[in-house]
Amino acid sequence: MSALSYLDAGRLALQQEMRRDPLVWALGEDLGRGGVFGQYRGLVEEFGPERILDTPISEAAIMGTAVGAALVGTRPVVEMRFSDFALCAVDELVNQAAKARYMFGGQGRVPLVVRQPSGMWRSSAAQHSQSLEAWYAHIPGLVVVTPATPADNFGLLKAAIRCDDPVVYMEHKDLWGVTGEVDDSAPPLPLGKARLARRGEDATIVTWSGMLRVVEATADLLKGDASVEIIDLRTLYPWDRDAVLSSAKRTGRLLIVHEAVETGGFGAEIAASAGEALFGDLKAPVRRLGAPRIPIPYAPPLEDICRVNPAQIADAVRGLLR
């Protein structure tokens, strides 16, 4: 075990997987100089420019060529720089990567990982801040992973690289510098299994990615008033329905907190599932908290309107308990 940042944990996972399997390679803009956030620092020196490929600013080609390269048996790790930019490559991801195996009747696999740094970090405005995970969870064929801790960024990225399906891997930009204990010999984590981040009795909060820290801080504030169970979903597709529903059934109260826009967000899927499965078991209506449906503004006081904050979460929990 050693303390690693979320960023370095991801880098170590990729490095280990590239050492393990010569068919794993990475492509994206500026990777030869470590990538825009430094997630690839040092890797070109070890693996060379063919496996740490510096690409033009051609998002469609980055994703589309990865599909072709995956179909001939390599395992590309696609760096999209910002999840917002991945929208330039949606045909390649949604129409090609996600569907190739199915359309071709099981011929071919597309074992690629699409790293999409996501979420708000201070004042990056409307085109560098979005959380679009629900879009991809909607698409058959894709796996959607949203790591919230350094240890998970290590274990989930390794799992994503070994997965034979196309994986949308959304690292939160505000977490790059967060440090935590990482066992660098740990095996890959199972995809589709949530993590019980905190045990509690009165209410269940389901969250993921950057909101986990905010939810944990809120639960600390609520200590004495409410015992909150926190589930870090880790993957949105497949999502750990059993973990969420069994916890909500036990506590009788469910709140879903995510950074993405609330309308049509993945919280709606979880809330609907809980409503269908637990109608008679819940002590209060299921609650959701997400961003308002506005583009993310630049000015800090305006941007903060888009952030779900501890006061809102605490109010929602108190409301569930009322």
């Binding site: 068919l23 390679w25 063919e50 496996r51 490929l53 690409t55 033009p56 051609s58 469609a60 080609a61 994703m63 589309g64 060529t65 990865a66 599909v67 072709g68 390269a69 995956a70 179909l71 001939v72 048996g73 390599t74 045909d91 390649e92 129409n95 090609q96 190739a100 195996r101 199915y102 359309m103 071709f104 009747g105 099981g106 011929q107 071919g108 058959p140 064929g141 894709l142 796996v143 997965c163 034979d164 399906d165 995809l191 589709g192 597709y237 497949p238």
Partner: protein
Amino acid sequence: MAGPVRANFDAERMLGHYRLMNRIRAFEETAEAALKAGEVKGAIHLSIGQEAIATGVCANLQRDDLIASNHRGHGHTIAKGASPAAMMAELFGRATGTCQGKGGSMHIADFAIGMLGANGVVGAGILIAVGAAQGVKLRREPRVVACFFGDGAINRGPFLEGLNWAKIYTLPVLFVCEDNGFAATTRTASLTAGGGPDARAASLGIPATIVDGNDVAAVDDAARELVARIRAGSGPQFLLARTYRLKGHTAADVAAYRSAEEVAAKQQDEPLRRCAEALALNGVGADRLAGVVAAARDEMAAAADAARAAPWPDRALAWADVQDVGAPVEAAR
């Protein structure tokens, strides 16, 4: 329009081309009839009139080489070596189809013979082909990837991104632009700025070889040279083959946007006719040529009969091959 008697005329090779072009033509005509009869569903895009390009290019590919195709891909797929019977069954949506009936005309693929898929999105196959070339290069495999697309695709971003990409990484790709003059139901020239596909390719450092795409021997010769350059490590090459789409955009399109006179004139120039004339001039008898036509028709009629008799895919196949992690479960419905 038969062309001169060639000094180095290879009658057997030309006859092989004629046989393959007739098989493609017969496949398309059989599919068209089945569509009109309601046996084939959805949209199919016929390559009638463009058979020489698929034939001439694939004549220079090995089984291990790869192709990526577009929505008008039946000819490419047959030319690369796929079974027309399995393809026909795919069009009929049957379990015996190349894709178990799950893809249909626009998603035919046959990985066993290096066919990485038709594509429903114009230009999308370009990036898949370029990526496949990057993959085989990474694996140190000596394979060539041929990429078929139409003149309409040059107005999509992947054309620019893919050609640039192939050039900067010196990838083993043969870009084959089948210029049939139409982007869906609109004349491409009316929507395309600048000098066209060859000018755009040249601007990215990939000079085009321009060929009469209805002259199968000319396509064959040009493709042989370009594939040889790729195998020698020269990186991507570009073949611009000018042709004419004798049918509409889809089989349901009557193509009222062009005159009957125009189409009639183009019929005189179509590749099977020209190939037959060249063979006749070089001493191949009419009986032999007629036999080729009849055999192709018989083969495709039998393919359609087999498809008609084949079973529908089992319902469980709808849930198969979506993904391994989080695979959908039929019982969950």
